[in-house]
Symmetry: C2
Subunit: 146 residues, 2 copies
DNA sequence: ATGGATGCAAATCTTTTGCACGGAA
DNA sequence: TTCCGTGCAAAAGATTTGCATCCAT
């Protein structure tokens, strides 16, 4: 989604275009990784010292509600936000903690599921847990010299 | 998993078999739905007034670590625990909030995924969000009489 | 006997909310 | 002008932790 499309969506859903909203929107669209409200707050504070953590939380929640970003519940203790709304899934490395975008072929099948056992499906969240290619490499290297 | 198998797993992983652990284990194995630490605590307190909420949290976390139960991060604010470790997924109704077990055919394919784009996959969590068959029915009924 | 587990309370962490003020439509 | 949004601080909720005591091995 582009900045302009997102602004339009904000307007169309009856929301005001404010300075914090523009700033947060611009930031997440230009940094398509996985952010927490806290990390966004810490980054933006440098150029926008008056911004409030509460506004960041509320804004991200609003963005999620109107479909500008997606919430990731991949971590048991905090919510991550992803501005990449193109269908893809996530893998969290249980060694280093990094979150990766992944798009296995099965992705498309899941996206197509609209009904399961009589329930309407509107959204599917898929989270993989394992060992990322980097950590995998290090494990191998570590085991060699004994 | 049976009670006996779970006890064996506790022993094999070097953990003590204590009263709270036996009580919580028995409870979750006999009630294969989706519990929070809080809900288990509230229930068990009646027959076991001295049990502590901290113990419930710690015990469930231990059970999850050794594979006796699975953590569900289907809700953005709290963790649910599931003692049904047989491969299946979950659907949360965004109308009534209920969590359902579902087993679409795609389930098996996902369980078989061991490698994605070079990353090792050890576990896959799939959460569906939508409208359950009950709420779906009520919506239809509600719309008819106008 | 002895080290890990429990129970309590306090602490921590994430997220939300109340309220007076300020800014967008 | 008129709400809605913001910023601050305080509150709320979930989960963890410190510590003295207790209990399983």
């Amino acid at each position: 989604m582009t900045y302009e499309e997102a602004l339009k969506k904000l307007k169309d859903t009856g929301n005001i275009i404010s300075m914090p909203r523009m700033t947060i929107l611009k930031y997440v669209l230009e940094h398509k990784t996985h952010h927490t409200a806290e990390s966004i707050y810490e980054t933006l504070k440098k150029e926008y010292p008056s911004i409030s953590i509460a506004t960041v939380y509320n804004t991200l929640k609003l963005f999620a509600k109107i479909g500008i970003v997606k919430q990731l519940m991949i971590d048991e203790s905090k919510v991550y936000y992803d501005s990449n709304i193109y269908p893809h899934f996530h893998l969290k490395c249980t060694v280093c903690g990094k979150i990766y975008d992944v798009s296995p072929p099965i992705c498309r099948e899941l996206e197509g599921l609209k009904d399961i056992e009589g329930h309407i499906v509107n959204d599917a969240h898929v989270y993989f847990y394992g060992v990322c290619s980097d950590c995998r490499k290090n494990m191998t290297t570590g085991g060699e010299d004994t």
